[in-house]
Symmetry: C2
Subunit: 441 residues, 2 copies
């Protein structure tokens, strides 16, 4: 079609086919699905949402957090004009609370230089700016685990960036698959730039990497010149001691680390961060950091992370003595105990003989929100709708997180928003649905 | 260079030349410059920043705003669980406060359907998602006024989108230049998709469009199938009665309207919005709205606008009776009066004969933050540094906002952060600098 002469529809009418291609990718519905499915079936028990337990939230807390941060600023000698400017005016693009976040990360096992931090609107903006910096053109490839968090593949899609999947095994990205993918990508004349991975209690699979697998991954990628984008929002939500992050093991600046306070404090402030200590060599011979470049990109996305929301989070961190490990131990224990309960209920509901006959299986996360359950039927949106309407239980199709049809018979279950009774009843309803689907086929 | 075999630098070292091209575009430094230049010369009088007057800010206000919103939610029958979920949990992608914003916009002269709104992290995210939706590939062109707000050209650069400038005259985009550009763009086989314009007290030029120019612009673009992206954060910051927005004049859904509470309430919440009532026709024959598509894109950028920040803004709006016109009348009066003062000082400091001899001139905004001053020398960063260091006054080179070297001898002055004495002293210092530069050349 000659786009220059054929008259389109009237000005206020647009063809979806002529808007950006990402809008025709079902990927973009996944985030909305995750955000909103639970509201569509308010009476169902929901294993769907990846959101933290909210019954302990208190609307007075942000007020106390803000007061704590203001008191802290006063204690550091800030006058009232500086304080109101810090909270209410535009602020530095890289963030107002980098020092507070750096000290907290150090206490929780990840020493970082505040200058290597950018405070972002959730981990999502951190992912977006990291991919935008690293993926310069259509020769550049982002490797992602398969299945992958939809936020990383969605951000890449928005940027028209190439994504190649690498199968995830029980210990993280499969080294053989990774080596093969790297070779394939290079043989196609493309440049693998980074691998995105969630090493602790992965969304969506629940997989965690052993420390040796983490070291092996860094060793494998280092000579390839391929960075690791470590997306790690769940690391403190399992039993202590917490394994070292990929970034904590990194001696060669090969890891860009992304985190969030959405699961350790609360999501409503939408505060995330990225640690990017990579050295950037400019054409004039000078050097800077990747964090600096990420902040420059951020200036064209959100200008600043809301300074008021940053202040609330900084106050919350100060009130926890700049240590989230001890502060989240109770929540971590709660999630781990619900995960154990769900696994024991599944074991009870699907005895070994049934498991074998039906082809039902699951993995064994020690914490976090997610567990992957394999079922004997295609677990897509139709199955989900029937399960919600007839059995009163919700979950997420794993296929939403895969590059192809892998995961077609796997569902993601999240225990994060449920109590013990709901886990027990939900597992019973789910088992009834699985048996019913099996009998229908 | 064969990127597949040549070894690059070690993993933790990156070449700027191999990161995204936007990072080599000086455009990206402009936002950082605007954000941070004032901090670099703390003792200079600064006509540089585009930020609102902050001396009236009060750190207790967000606490009162939050309480007002909580009281409002309770009054509507929300229970405590719903309230804490609304403030502290993840929320709907399009926003939690669309109804409150829609009612406020209606009271201030712009009736909109809440379903056509998306609440964003400042106007910047609204610009980014609007451009991402409309600019599908490298055949699509965004037209921008020349000079243009750096946030719109920067967002386009991040998306590798094509931008063509349209000269701005004293009454907004020059109709002749616009017609010529449209023809040129189409002759090159490209598709003009939208024109971005700031119709009230434009950043950077200070220009406002007359009502007849607004109607003419809509009439000119309608048959072309080219949308208007109306970026209008300053409209209430001038003398009442405020002229109708382009969106208020729009009877054909040809305008996407973007606004912000950064200048009418305070920037630190970073709450903006986009009104997009365009009909989107899907391949299956169903229809939706552009607002819905924008929310889908937003889900991959920031997931949600911080619900806590939205709650603060909603409370602030309720405390102002959902009317920003009366609430900002005092601030608008203050800005208008400073603008009048600056113009009269310039008139005093540059008598007509001097003006003619030196080639000094300026325009005449009735409100807003910005005025454009033409000077007889190249007004780039070197001139700015000398002016700051030797004369103690800051401003912004207008060349940062132009597609080419136009604006090389123009500077942007903002009165928004100054008091009357600073405007008077700042104008005197600036005049001394202009005369000194003229004598040196």
């Amino acid at each position: 079609m000659d786009r220059t002469t054929v008259a389109g529809p009237p000005a206020g009418h647009l063809e979806l086919a002529q808007l950006h291609g990402s809008l025709r990718d079902p990927l973009l519905d996944t985030m909305t699905f995750l955000n909103e499915v639970t509201a569509r079936y308010p009476r169902a028990i929901s294993f769907a949402p990846g959101r933290p337990y909210e019954d302990d939230f208190d609307v007075e807390e942000p007020v106390r957090d803000l007061a704590a941060y203001v008191a802290h600023l006063r204690g550091e000698g800030a006058d009232e004009a500086e304080i109101r400017r810090t909270l209410l005016q535009y602020g530095p693009t890289a963030g107002t609370i980098r020092e507070v976040v750096a000290r907290t990360l150090a206490h929780d096992g990840l020493p970082v230089d505040p200058d290597h931090l950018v405070i972002t609107v959730g981990a999502q903006e951190a992912l977006l700016i990291t991919l935008r910096a690293l993926l310069a053109d259509d020769h550049d490839v982002l490797l992602v685990t398969d299945p992958a968090y939809v936020g990383v593949t969605g951000a890449a899609r928005l940027l028209d960036a190439r994504v190649h999947p690498v199968a995830e095994g029980p210990d993280g990205p499969d080294p053989h698959a990774l080596t093969t993918t790297l070779r394939d990508v290079r043989e196609r004349g493309l440049r693998p730039r980074a691998l995105s991975v969630v090493p602790d209690f992965a969304n969506p699979s629940g997989t965690s990497m052993s420390v040796s697998a983490r070291r092996r991954l860094l060793d494998l990628l280092r000579p390839e010149g391929v960075l690791v984008v470590e997306d790690n929002p769940y690391r403190l939500l399992g039993p202590a001691p917490h394994p070292p992050t990929l970034k904590a093991l990194d001696r060669h600046r090969q890891v860009v680390h992304i985190g969030s306070f959405a699961k350790t404090l609360f999501p409503g402030a939408r505060i995330g961060y990225v640690v990017a200590d990579q050295v950037v060599h400019r054409p004039d011979g000078t050097t800077g950091t990747l964090a600096h470049e990420l902040a420059r990109l951020k200036s064209m996305i959100t200008v600043n992370t809301p300074p008021l929301a940053q202040a609330v989070v900084a106050g919350a961190l100060h009130r926890r003595d700049l240590r989230l490990g001890p502060a989240t131990a109770g929540a971590a224990q709660r999630y781990a105990s619900l995960m154990t309960l769900l696994r024991s209920e599944l074991t009870r509901l699907f005895p070994p003989a049934d498991r074998e006959r039906l082809g039902v299986s699951w993995n064994d996360p020690a914490g976090g929100f997610f567990i992957a359950l394999t079922v004997p039927f295609p677990a897509g949106p139709e199955a989900l709708a029937r399960c919600a309407e007839e059995f009163g239980v919700l979950w997420t199709p794993m296929r939403y997180f895969h590059a192809d049809t892998a995961g077609d018979r796997v569902i993601r279950l999240s225990i994060s928003c449920l109590d013990r009774d709901q886990v027990i009843t939900g597992a019973e309803r789910l088992a009834a649905f699985v048996r019913d689907e099996d009998e229908r086929s």
